[in-house]
């Protein structure tokens, strides 16, 4: 890894390509509108004669619906419609793999649009109300009468799978299971010098994007149902068409700039309800969920119970992992089977493990449904496998860095599910980078304080599951004045998705960024590019734009070659000109030549991801994901021994981004992902009481504020080894993985006891201090010198 001239601090590249635009920390083209308040988000649109819609939701987690009566609500002046499940043409939402044309049996899932006979979670939609004003709407929702008969519920996934548990669904509470059997696990444990054993628990987490779910729908002059919604997936137009029983071509989903997604806008939110409201009333309708209903009823991150037994040799070589995972899927399947698959594939982390036994299952409960969330099952397991690595290091008297480096995957090593790593892994370099940037561990600031340092590494796939035949299309075309239009169906959810595409096109077609317009996120007018999920957009759409732009460049050079009788290989596209030996043609001139010669001045390309054969239950079929991104994080913190209060002192996050198309955007993803992970580590939890969601608002659901966090230092490694454009790897999800494990390691370092349940609240830190053999709470000590412990506490 060499530092090239001109690169910013915190970027270490091993690529020395001559790139002009790619790799530059350019201001994103969407910044100016966002900082003048001009960007119009989904809820900002208002149309003439627009109605307002809202949902009536179940107040109970498990009940039979015995009566529904909308008479009083319908009589209220200003109420336009009240709909129940029977009023929905096809009252079933497919909630398996959004945006995908392929169905995979093991992943299939569905639920009623509006519950008719039974509700299975607190907040489940039962009725849809449409009214002339928001004030009438609120009143009307209160007037919809729904009677319930409470049914026994089940609120713990392990209990849900025990005999005699109330059935959430008729076919039982086991939703999905995956298994890995690799090598001879029992023999490896027999031969082991040391065995670490631990149980780790993660919590319900909410995405808590600043923009609650919203959208506006209308019928256009062609009778097409338009939905302009805050979404990560414009391809949901297909699901809407199925619900209404109309052709897919009659539904259009537009994704304006989204006010944060993080996976929470991967499943449909307002779409089916907005569609029904418009279809029924034939008028424009707006639906805006409140923060409270977003916290109440939209799917959360899966809580998981992770049981790890790890065998190692005396030199620290990991010999075997025996892993058991139970995930709480909540009341409906959504993407649980897929999330659990991610957990299974990622369960051994970025380490070589020759013998693996894994059993993973997701259970239905009457808790809120759980589904996609940045990290997507690949991140909960970090909290488990990194704790195990620390435990082994501690037993063997080697450093956390050393044991990780010793076991790090390298190119060619297979993951437990059989997929070999095809690209260079810079894990050891990432570990060295964070340690070097950190310097010595800080000393406690005073009496009653202890400090600790934690290190955590991860891998996270980018690109969708190979079973889904993933593809992305993009169109690139020159206007006659030499300006460039890019059309790509990517939803831009704030990560600079659209801007990065402009940067890629600018690089290949030698057009200044200002001369490029990106049209994005429109299922009718932009080529479909798939979901902005799974860390796939830069990889998939970036490659599609790369292909289309390269094709367009070659077309223009071929036309210029024909016109000048020069070989095309000798010609180059430079800013505004085609040049070569004795050739200098203006770009607009060359475009006119193209038209005269019958050469298109635009190109459409579809990029296909690698394909794989679906497994049914046992994962040993080889390639599951296109590739992985690796990283290492370091956390220094201080804990108050009297209050358990944790103060973050230093946080460094390093990932191999392959190639940073826009380093500013990559840094934004790393810092923002780490921040969101730190929220999960220390603060955030959706609290439930027998299925009743008691999290009433952001005053209870605490996401990190500016004062909760320290500066987060991102370090970008550039191996150039990624499968995205110019060797880029995906970076959207990976940075959220390590923080919880890094914080737990640092608490273990500070107190001598490792917290094993998230979030690591002050109470849990105090539990660690009380369990510590080294420290009495309230007293300062030499704890800073104590290596990480392995004891378990609540």
């Amino acid at each position: 890894v060499t530092a090239a001239a001109g690169e910013g601090p915190g970027i270490r590249t091993s690529k020395a390509d001559q790139l002009r635009v790619v790799g530059q920390p350019l201001p994103r083209h969407d910044q100016a509108e966002k900082i003048t308040g001009a960007t119009r988000y989904a809820g900002d649109l208002a149309l003439a004669h627009m109605l307002h819609a809202a949902l009536v939701r179940s107040p109970l987690p498990s009940a039979a619906i015995t009566r529904r009566d909308a008479t009083a609500a319908r009589q209220l002046p200003g109420v336009v419609a009240v709909l129940f499940g029977e009023d929905v043409p096809h009252n079933l939402i497919r909630v398996d793999v959004p945006g995908q044309a392929v169905q995979v049996a093991a992943l299939q899932a569905s639920m009623e649009v509006l519950a008719t006979g039974r509700v299975r979670f607190h907040g489940e939609p039962v009725a849809l109300v449409v009214a002339e004003s928001e004030d009438v709407l609120a009143q009307a929702c209160d007037l919809v009468e729904v009677d319930y008969q409470e049914l026994p519920g089940i609120y713990d996934p392990d209990e849900a799978l025990a005999g005699g548990a109330p059935a959430v669904h008729e076919h039982g509470n086991l939703l999905s299971q995956w298994a890995i059997d690799r090598g001879d696990v029992d023999a490896a444990f027999e031969a082991a010098d040391v065995v670490a054993d631990g149980v780790y628990r993660t919590q319900h987490v909410d995405h808590a994007y600043l923009e609650p779910e919203a959208g506006v729908g209308w019928l256009d002059d062609e009778g097409v149902l338009n939905l302009r919604v805050s979404t990560q997936v414009v391809e949901h137009y297909r699901d809407v068409a199925k619900i209404l029983g109309i052709p897919e071509a009659r539904v259009r989903v537009i994704a304006p700039y989204v006010g944060g997604g993080f996976g929470g806008k991967e499943d449909m939110t307002v779409e089916p309800y907005l569609a029904l409201s418009v279809w029924h009333t034939r008028r424009p309708v707006r639906m805006q969920w409140t923060r409270q209903e977003s916290l109440l009823a939209r799917p959360k991150r899966h809580p998981m119970r992770l049981r790890y037994r790890t065998a190692a040799a005396s030199d620290g070589t990991v010999l075997a992992q025996d892993i058991d995972i139970t995930a709480d899927a909540g009341a409906y399947a959504y993407l649980s089977a897929l999330v659990l698959l991610y957990s299974s594939v990622h369960a051994c982390g970025p380490y070589r493990v020759p013998n693996v036994r894994l059993r993973a299952r997701a259970a239905y409960t009457n808790n809120p449904p759980t589904s996609a969330f940045r990290g997507f099952g690949g991140m909960q397991v970090v909290f488990g496998y990194e704790a195990q690595m620390d435990a082994l290091a501690h037993r063997l008297g080697i450093t956390p860095a050393e044991i990780r480096k010793r076991n790090a995957l390298t190119r060619g090593d297979p993951l437990p599910a059989g997929q070999p790593i095809e690209t260079e892994v810079l894990l050891a370099k990432a570990i060295d980078a964070v340690l070097e940037a950190a310097g010595p561990k800080p000393a406690p600031s005073g009496p009653g304080k202890v400090t600790g340092r934690g290190l955590a590494c991860n891998l996270q796939s980018y690109g969708r599951l190979t079973w889904l035949n993933d593809s992305a299309a993009a169109w690139v075309g020159f206007q006659l004045d030499g300006s460039l239009s890019v059309r790509c169906g990517v939803p831009d959810i704030g990560g600079g998705q659209a801007s990065s595409l402009a940067q890629i096109a600018a690089e290949i077609l030698a057009v200044p960024m200002e001369a490029i317009t990106v049209h994005f996120g429109d299922s009718a007018l932009t080529p479909l590019a798939g979901t902005t999920t799974a860390t796939r957009q830069l990889y998939m759409s970036g490659n599609a734009v790369c292909q289309a732009a390269s094709q367009l460049r070659d077309q223009i050079l071929a036309a210029a070659a024909a016109e000048t009788s020069q070989p095309a290989e000798g010609l180059r596209l430079e800013e505004g000109r085609i040049t070569g030996p004795g050739v200098s043609i203006s770009l607009p001139g060359a475009l006119v030549t193209c038209r005269r010669l019958g050469v298109p001045t635009e190109a459409l390309a579809t990029f296909f991801g690698p394909k794989g054969k679906p497994a049914v239950r046992n994962l040993q079929s080889g390639r599951v994901f296109p590739d992985f991104t690796f990283g290492a994080h370091l956390c220094d913190l201080e804990a108050d021994t009297q209050t358990g209060q944790v103060t973050l002192l230093r946080y460094i996050a390093c990932h191999d981004a392959g190639r940073a198309i826009n380093p500013r955007s990559v840094q934004g993803q790393i810092s923002g992902g780490a921040a969101q992970g730190l929220g999960m580590a220390l603060l955030e939890e959706i609290t439930l009481d027998h299925g009743i969601n008691t999290t009433g608002g952001l005053f209870q659901y605490l996401i990190p504020t500016a004062t909760d966090l320290c500066d987060i230092q991102p370090i970008i490694l550039e191996s150039g080894e990624g499968m995205g454009p110019f060797g880029a790897r995906g970076i959207g999800e990976p940075p959220i993985g390590p923080p919880a494990a890094a914080v737990a390691s640092a608490i273990a370092d500070a107190t001598g006891t490792r917290p094993t349940t998230l979030p690591i609240t002050p109470e849990r830190v105090l539990d660690c201090l009380l369990a510590s053999p080294y420290i009495s709470p309230g007293r300062s000590s030499a704890a800073a010198a104590i290596p990480p412990g392995t004891e378990e506490t609540g």
Partner: protein
């Protein structure tokens, strides 16, 4: 339904009079009655700060005040921070340069809070800037680019005053 109340506010220098429900929050009045959509709805409880506007120069969670309560006031939103010719203010330029907006939903509220902090005139430490932004949540950036931007704008403001 509560009675209609006529409220006049000067929003970003433009005088707006609307007869609307007296129960309307300033946020709803701005967004639904006056068509000013840069203050955002994020929580409705004064926690997230996405609806922050300046009322006579002071930052206010517009979801927690009734429009009728501030009748006659000068209201400034992020759009109103721009220079008279529509170009970016120094604070907005600093946000631009530091990539302080990702999804951008918190940005209008963040900007007016920062503008009020800088208008205080006192040189703020980095920790004080973080304290000042405490009531404005951001889920994308981890705050650092925002803190960097406010710090840079403050430096520029101080340099401008020193050279005056």
């Amino acid at each position: 339904m509560t009675d209609t109340v006529t409220v006049t506010l000067t929003v970003n220098g433009r005088r707006v009079t609307r007869a609307a429900g007296g129960h309307l929050s300033l946020l709803r009045w701005l967004r639904d009655e006056a068509g000013v959509t840069d203050p955002k709805y994020g929580c409705g409880e004064g926690i997230c700060g996405a609806c922050t506007v300046l009322v006579d120069g002071a930052p206010v969670s517009s979801c927690l005040v009734l429009a009728a309560q501030v009748d006659g006031a000068q209201v400034t939103t992020a759009a109103g921070l721009c220079e008279p010719d529509g170009s970016l203010s120094p604070l907005q330029r600093a946000f631009h340069a530091h990539h302080a907006a990702q999804c951008g939903f918190c940005t209008p509220g963040m900007l007016v809070t920062a503008a009020a902090m800088l208008a205080g005139g006192r040189r703020l430490t980095r920790d004080e800037i973080r304290d000042g932004l405490h009531g404005n949540l951001c889920r994308c950036t981890g705050y650092q680019p925002i803190v960097d931007a406010v710090e840079a704008a403050q430096e520029q403001q101080a340099a401008g005053e020193a050279s005056r």
